[in-house]
Symmetry: C2
Subunit: 133 residues, 2 copies
């Protein structure tokens, strides 16, 4: 069976983990966080990547990513933040729907702090409360 | 002796490797490319990172990064592009002046294709011609 449903289109219609949403994008925790507090800023409309997304949306999502980077740095007391978007499978894009990663980086904690362990529902809700406050 | 000159402020005043520039930012090849064609989009004004840069500049540099990502993907025939900005030393930011990395990723080529080998002047000029055309 061919899977032709886009998971990010579906999640954008509403889900219990959403931390923020507006007309153009929404923010949820990454299901497989590379660090504690790893967020995704996801376009509501379907565009394969930043390369094919309209400039207005790219501008808007950059500002939302910045806002949550500042918020995450403060709330997680992290020492750094990585903001990244991957375009194409070769670049590590797993879901072919435009999204930006916002990843708080603690000091002196090696990469892969929580390597590909699936986020639990309680962790997702704690993160949501933390960043909404 | 304390080094108090910001290298990205200095390079923004003009240098032979500049591929693109406007009033707000400029584009040069990364001096230590992680992949062939690795570019930097750099703010002309000094801001420590995206976290402290004005929203208008963040929006503008996102569009310039997108433009060069599209251009790089085409010109290098790469299979993917990573666009990333790091804020803070813990996140891997080496120069404390807001910049965005645009990194073409070839298919089936492991990361670190040109790992921290310094870009030569001829390579820089070839890249400049390639992306200006």
């Amino acid at each position: 069976m061919v899977e032709d449903v886009c998971i990010f289109c579906e999640l954008g219609k509403g889900n219990s983990r959403t931390i923020f949403e507006d007309k153009h994008c929404y923010v949820i925790p990454d299901r497989f966080p590379s660090q504690k507090g790893h967020l995704l800023v996801i376009a509501k409309d379907h565009h394969e990547s930043i390369l094919t997304a309209p400039n207005k949306l790219v501008e808007h999502m950059a500002i939302v990513a910045k806002k949550f980077a500042i918020q995450s740095k403060k709330k997680h007391k992290s020492e750094g933040i990585v903001i990244t978007t991957n375009a194409g499978k070769a670049a590590g894009q797993l879901i072919m729907h435009y999204h930006i990663h916002v990843i708080p980086i603690p000091l002196n904690v090696p990469k892969g702090f929580i390597p590909h362990r699936e986020l639990t529902e309680p962790e997702a809700q704690i993160l949501k409360r933390l960043l909404k406050s």
